[in-house]
Symmetry: C2
DNA sequence: CTCTATCTTGAATGTACATTCAAGATATCG
DNA sequence: CGATATCTTGAATGTACATTCAAGATAGAG
């Protein structure tokens, strides 16, 4: 007889941002209340508890990232060039230094995955989806003759993803644009050559 | 008139292990008490507080890792081969899946660096030291003609370290030996070719 | 052996937190 | 324009935590 007043996606994006900024354990319900605009009771009603909010936020993150990913390839450029744009965008995010741009997946992976196998599984699945999507793009690039026919696209996707993880971590201590760009350049070279 | 009964290094290694396993915020003083064998009062007396214990543990970690690093090069092999051994060892640590082998630096960097600039600085300094040490080894490998004379050793060191960060994160979701070994193989190839 | 400075112990403290819940508000339906 | 199901509110609850502290233990000095 009455619908919830809040926008679920908006709330989840706010929660994401809070979790990315301060981590899971260090984000209190009071901060989540401020970030989402929802009172504790509403959060518990909608997401069961703080952990449920994280799980919902991880799912929203997956959806948002998948959409974003596809947009990089929704044009007529060579797939390999789009992969490069994707990588360049990672660097841009790292440089902007906005913690909101950190990767929720790797952050949560580091903080809690080891102690919560369900969350571990959710994150692993998320990352596998991204890896699979990358592998498909490399296959496409191979079909377009941009990369050598004897390359193993699954391996390329894993290596590319490993590089992105490394880049993100590296950026925490080395946020200088030039260095990150140079590293990305080499990574691109190593997967495309 | 009376000396402390505990062995400081032993206590710090136990604390490191606890922090690596559960993270900083999620490791309670009660767990630290169990892990170190020290009662709260003694911990506060020796390290001021929980944060002080982390700082001391980070310093011990740096010392231990520096010693370990040098041991990889304390032989008559080619420096480049020793770099490969070092990388192989990272993979072995990842595979062993013993959380005690995770990297305290990257773990702490992800969890708290953004909220505590002193800890951020300590970790950054630690990682810079490692990066510098790697750069020196690459210079040595260059002098031994193992790598091309026109290579930028600082860049190689950064790329190598980025790869190690990526490898460690990747291992969280992909602990299969074969995959990690293949990634390490490619990384080695890309820095030595 | 005695004295005292220092260390050890672990219960006590206050605080901050996640979670609950009952009262109040409001949209929708008849 | 009620009636009512559902949502919103935020103070109350209990718990778990980091930290403190005073009493007890013990090593070393004289």
């Amino acid at each position: 007889m009455r619908n919830a007043e809040f926008d679920r996606e908006e709330v989840l994006r706010a929660a994401m941002k809070a979790f990315m900024h301060k981590g899971y354990a260090n984000t209190s319900m009071q901060e989540l209340k401020k970030a989402t605009g929802l009172h504790p009771g509403s959060i518990y009603c909608a997401f069961e508890n703080k952990r449920g909010l994280l799980l919902a936020a991880l799912e929203q993150y997956r959806l948002d990232r998948a959409t974003e990913f596809e947009q990089f390839f929704a044009n007529s450029h060579l797939t390999l060039d789009n992969l490069k744009s994707y990588l360049t965008n990672v660097v841009v995010e790292c440089i902007s230094c906005d913690s909101a741009q950190a990767c929720l997946l790797t952050k949560a992976l580091n903080e809690i995955a080891e102690q919560d196998s369900e969350i571990q599984q959710v994150i692993s699945d998320n990352l596998s989806v991204l890896q699979q999507a990358l592998a498909e793009k490399f296959e496409q690039a191979k079909a377009e003759k941009s990369i050598n026919a004897d390359k193993d696209c699954d391996h390329l996707a894993r290596y590319f993803l490993m590089g992105i993880y490394g880049l993100r971590t590296f950026a925490h201590t080395h946020p200088e644009a030039k260095v990150l760009e140079q590293l990305a350049e080499q990574l691109y070279h190593d997967v495309s050559q």
